[in-house]
């Protein structure tokens, strides 16, 4: 009976939602590997300003010069840049109407529900397919408020916005930051540029969706968001890829500038395929009285290094980080966050959940640094880990560095499993064991999913249900 019920439950989730591929026939694909010629070719194709090419070439040198940290983090031995193509582009131009998007690509995004979401609940959508943005659109009434939502490439070709990109691009995450930041700046392509003028509040979120279709390829999109004083934005980022038996690489960068009194919520549902090395870098700097909210769900990828960082530069800023990570078979997900509190009276709250099953490895890694001038700063960190079997692993490595006598820091971490009593109770009420465990896991994840818009919370719950398939027996 219980097996039957389990199968019925799993059949509700369409696994083909993410695991489908489209032919690359006719696509422009650069040679595997990383050379100055490839970097120049990407830059030339985008007809970039000279400063950008120089930055790319400097970053390439840095990438080759910088070693990986030898003493921490999951292994990335399976990643060989000599077998990764850093640029793959479908034969299409960026469209403003889904009707102008090639049929196979449109079909991809329709299956992922992007056009429907755009119609119902978004202020604008960008859709990236492999290395290039294929669709970008924003509601007229939002554009009329002076909001800019476009690609970095288009912004670089606009005389009004090129100086702005030049001023901000690569300043929050410099190419010297780490090896894969350098790689990103050498070969970046696609992504979004968002500018929200002072005092403007967007009624609906903007969303960028990143789909990596090509096998053995990398995606290196750059997201640059500037929220001017008093403005308010919710930005959603989604990503997925079909599964291949060769490594794919995602090394994007997200730079967020949240000015005085502004608010930015940045939500991510990451569902990369389990052959993906996800070496993404996200960083925000916030001004006085500003608020930064991160909501992060990490379900996919083979290996992840992901630690969204918030630099609280101004006084009275607020940062909230809510995250969940689900590591299943073959996954080694090293995730967490960093908070750097430099302003007085700043407040930060970190709440994370992680679930490990089927041999998956979860590492929660965080750092809270409270600087000398962060008078009366307050920070709380809570990290809860759930182990669903005895072949999985969950580590918690939180670092704290406090340099102000008036600051208050609280931290708590717990690791445990679903109690037999809870499962037994739910089974006595008619649930199968699988359903009972899924219920508990959904409840465990609820504080994160409730932070998401309804459509994405449903997607996250579906992902949990999908991941829980076969969690017992």
């Amino acid at each position: 009976m219980s097996d039957e019920r389990k199968r019925t439950q799993v059949a509700d989730v369409d696994r083909s939602l993410y695991d489908f591929t489209k032919s690359e026939e006719g696509y422009e694909r650069y040679d595997d590997g990383l050379t100055p010629e490839i970097v120049r070719a990407i830059s030339a194709k985008k007809d970039e300003p000279e400063w950008m090419l120089e930055m790319r070439l400097r970053a390439l040198d840095l990438y080759h010069a910088r070693p990986m940290a030898p003493n921490w983090g999951p292994s990335i031995e399976g990643l060989d840049l000599d077998h990764i193509s850093t640029y793959v582009s479908p034969k299409t131009k960026q469209a403003k109407s889904w009707d102008d998007v090639p049929e196979d690509i449109k079909d991809t995004f329709e299956r992922l529900g992007i056009p429907e979401a755009e119609r119902e609940s978004l202020a604008g959508v960008g859709a990236q397919y492999d290395s290039e943005i294929v669709y970008h659109n924003m509601r007229e009434e939002v554009a009329e408020q002076g909001v800019i939502y476009t690609t970095i490439e288009d912004a670089l070709h606009d005389p009004k916005w090129e100086p702005v990109v030049h001023e901000y691009f690569g300043t929050l995450i410099p190419p010297t930051d780490h090896k894969f930041a350098a790689l990103h700046y050498a070969v970046w392509s696609g992504g979004s540029f968002v500018y929200v003028p002072a005092g403007v509040t967007l009624p609906y979120p903007l969303q960028s969706y990143f789909r990596l279709n090509a096998a053995g390829a990398g995606q290196f999109e750059h997201t640059l968001i500037i929220v001017e004083p008093g403005a308010d934005l919710h930005f959603i980022e989604g990503c997925s890829a079909p599964k291949y038996y060769e490594a794919n690489l995602h090394a994007g960068a997200v730079e967020l500038f949240v000015k005085d009194g502004a608010r930015l919520r940045y939500s991510t549902i990451e569902n990369w395929s389990k052959n993906m090395y996800n070496l993404n870098t996200k960083r925000a700097t916030i001004g006085a009285d500003a608020k930064m909210e991160w909501v992060s769900g990490s379900f996919g990828s083979h290996v992840s290094y992901l630690y969204p960082t918030t630099i609280m530069a101004g006084d009275r800023g607020t940062c909230e980080f809510t995250g969940i990570t689900f590591a299943g078979a073959t996954q080694d997900l090293d995730t967490g966050c960093k908070v750097i509190m430099n302003g007085a009276d700043t407040t930060a709250s970190v709440s994370t959940k992680s679930i490990s099953k089927d041999g998956g490895v979860n590492t929660f890694r965080s750092s809270v640094v409270i600087g000398r001038h962060a008078d009366r700063a307050r920070c709380s960190v809570s990290c809860q880990s759930l182990m669903l079997d005895d072949i999985s692993r969950s580590d918690t490595i939180p670092a704290m560095d406090v340099r102000n006598a008036t600051a208050q820091v609280g931290h708590e971490a717990t690791i445990g499993r679903i109690s037999d009593d809870t499962v037994l109770y739910l089974m006595s009420r008619g649930c199968s064991e699988a359903e009972a465990r899924t219920l508990v896991v959904n409840g465990f994840a609820n504080p994160v999913s409730k932070e998401l818009p309804m459509e994405y919370a449903v997607e996250m719950n579906n992902l949990i249900k999908l991941e829980m398939e076969g969690a017992i027996g």
């Binding site: 005895d390 580590d395 670092a399 340099r403 102000n404 006598a405 008036t406 820091v409 708590e412 445990g416």
Partner: protein, 355 residues
């Protein structure tokens, strides 16, 4: 010319290394120490039985090798099976001294071990002292370990402890780290047997420009093992403290529980307080918990104490005095008591003797 002026120095680069590392830019993974490297040639010294080589020590292999190379005769003590030794085993380490001690507590036996570093020292004497203590606790053994460290502002002290605990062994540890130019303490406890247990209480105080570096590792290998770690410290002036704690719930340790809690009172504007509390979990039927509170005396506490006539400074010093008085009250031998009395840093202690 003094001997120390002639002594070459040795840099130990990977000391107090946490089993799980994190971002190197935080500079919290380990500490680098410079120690004297006095050569000894042509002498035959007594070393510990080889069984002790397998005991993991908190400060790491480099420090173990260095202490073994520097210490004169190692001291080996064995508590026979079933015997309760009333008299504590005292390891007293003075300025510039290095001690290597191994204690075998046979099945069902009980022993109290006291490490007293700094007894009889005068501030101003520079030098490096070190103590390496390795303990093997056989089944049902009881071990009481007291560590008292209070060396001078110009001195450096290294204290490395390794314990291996078998089935149903119980270890309780009382650490009082009362300051010193640089104090580095490493503690490792391997709960190898079923139901083995360690209870550790660490109280520390650092002021001035003192450096305190602590690395504590509990590996829970046996089923139903238990660890309870509690840290409570006060940091003043421009003191720098690093605390790495690791509870390692090893695969197979079903039913194991590890709990760790830290409370830090930060009283100085130039204090640097780094903490890396790690839980490693390779088993599902376990529980690991950690909690930390870092901050200053709360306004509510200050208001209450002000209503009793205490200024802010008086109130803050109350916490420091409480720490020293606690150390003195629980000192199990004159050597430990001397460490506290030598290191009161101007505190006027008033201890009510226990009846």
């Amino acid at each position: 010319m003094a001997e120390k002026d002639l002594a070459p120095e040795l840099t130990l680069e990977r000391v107090n290394v946490a089993p799980a590392q994190t971002w190197n830019r935080l500079r919290t993974n380990d500490i680098t120490l410079t120690v004297p490297a006095r050569g000894r040639k042509g002498d035959v010294y007594f070393s510990l039985p080889r069984l002790f080589e397998g005991v993991e020590c908190g400060m790491g292999r480099e420090v173990t090798d260095w202490v073994e190379s520097q210490a004169a005769d190692a001291r080996y003590i064995e508590i026979p099976r079933g015997e309760k030794r009333e008299e504590p085993i005292v390891v007293a380490v003075g300025a510039g001294e290095v001690a290597d001690t191994g204690v075998m507590v046979r099945a069902g036996a009980e022993a109290t071990i006291v490490v007293a570093a700094g007894a009889g020292e005068k501030n101003g004497e520079a030098g490096t002292s070190a103590s390496l203590v390795r303990i093997i606790a056989e089944a049902d053994a009881r071990v009481h370990l007291h560590e008292y460290v209070g060396v001078g502002a110009a001195q450096q002290h290294l204290e490395s402890v390794g314990i291996s605990a078998s089935r149903d062994a119980r270890v309780d540890v009382h650490q009082y780290l009362l300051g010193g130019g640089t104090v580095a303490l490493g503690f490792a406890c391997d709960l190898a047997g079923e139901r083995a247990r360690v209870d550790l209480g660490c109280r520390y105080h650092a002021g001035g420009t003192e450096i305190l570096d602590i690395n504590e590792i509990v590996r829970q290998r046996g089923r139903n093992t238990r660890s309870e770690l509690a840290y409570n410290g006060v940091l003043e002036d421009a003191a720098r403290k690093g605390l790495r704690t690791t509870i390692d719930l090893v695969h197979g340790a079903k039913g194991a529980q590890g709990n760790e809690a830290e409370t830090v009172l930060v009283l100085g504007d130039d204090v640097v307080n780094k903490t890396l509390p790690t839980i490693l979990c390779d088993e599902d039927d376990v529980a690991g918990n950690h909690g930390a509170t870092i901050g200053s005396v709360s306004p509510e506490q200050l208001a209450f104490l002000a209503s009793r006539g205490l200024s802010r400074t008086d109130a803050e010093q109350l916490f420091v005095r409480a720490l020293y008085e606690d150390a003195l009250m629980h000192a199990p031998c004159p050597e430990a008591r001397a460490v506290v009395e030598n290191d009161t840093k101007g505190q006027s202690l008033c201890i009510i003797e226990e009846a």
